[in-house]
Symmetry: C2
Subunit: 151 residues, 2 copies
């Protein structure tokens, strides 16, 4: 729990330290950053999914390790969605991210809540707990993608 | 310290859990993963560099937070360099990564040592400590890039 709690605190403080857009020299940099963070998160989330969906045998240690990384990574991408980063790279981000910022933040906050639960579930050694938390997190991913990401 | 120590342990265990190549369905996936992890690391490392080099004012909290993330991210990319991932995407990786694996591992291990020191230094509140650790880490990046990354 401590690892991602710490990284969460770090990410929150970073986000507060400066306007998000000021953290990147160019919109392309912010876009690359958020895509990279989401991609790393997705890789580790996919490993949990493979176990949750029975494609690979459940391994409690692998579950715990991947859950930890997913929760840590879930804190990072949001700083890359600062003002002015709607264009400038190859992005699927919808304009609504910037026109409905409060709603977008609700989604990103929810992901952090769900991945924190997922990390906790991934440490229980229970495949059923993992399945439940994985499904809840996957629903959160999908809801945000449906609202804010172009196909 | 706990955050990155934990993620380090998690990453090590993941690396031991299966051959690296088995963790990715396709070489492209491994290449994207390692590039993404290195990119996120580079972003946060760059924030430390901006302070170490005087481009932005030193902020102890921002330093500590970024150091933590750099050290955590430094554990991740190596699983993406498994057998068969020398080709398959847009990669600058030299063949020597796979023909001189022990030497490559020395470099990746060294980066993890140096970023652990960097994270510690970034928490001291001392710009001089940050500068020293940043320079040592940057040297480590460069040595590995010179040996194992095409221009």
């Amino acid at each position: 729990m401590k690892a991602f709690a710490c990284i969460a605190a770090a990410a929150t403080l970073l986000a507060l330290a400066a306007p998000a857009s000021a953290q990147f020299a160019k919109p392309e940099d912010a876009i690359k950053y958020r895509q990279s963070a989401l991609s790393v998160m997705g890789t580790h989330f996919g490993r949990l999914g493979a176990m949750a969906n029975g494609r690979v045998p459940f391994d409690a240690k692998v579950a715990a390790d991947n859950g930890e990384i997913v929760a840590a990574m879930a804190k990072l991408p949001w700083a890359g969605f600062g003002a002015g980063t709607d264009k400038g790279g190859n992005t699927k981000a919808k304009p609504e991210i910037w026109t409905e910022q409060a709603k977008f933040k609700e989604h990103s906050d929810k992901l952090q809540v769900e991945t924190t639960k997922l990390a906790a579930a991934s440490k229980t050694g229970s495949l059923d707990s993992l399945k439940t938390a994985f499904a809840a997190t996957a629903d959160t991913c999908k809801a945000c993608h449906d609202a804010f990401r172009n196909k």
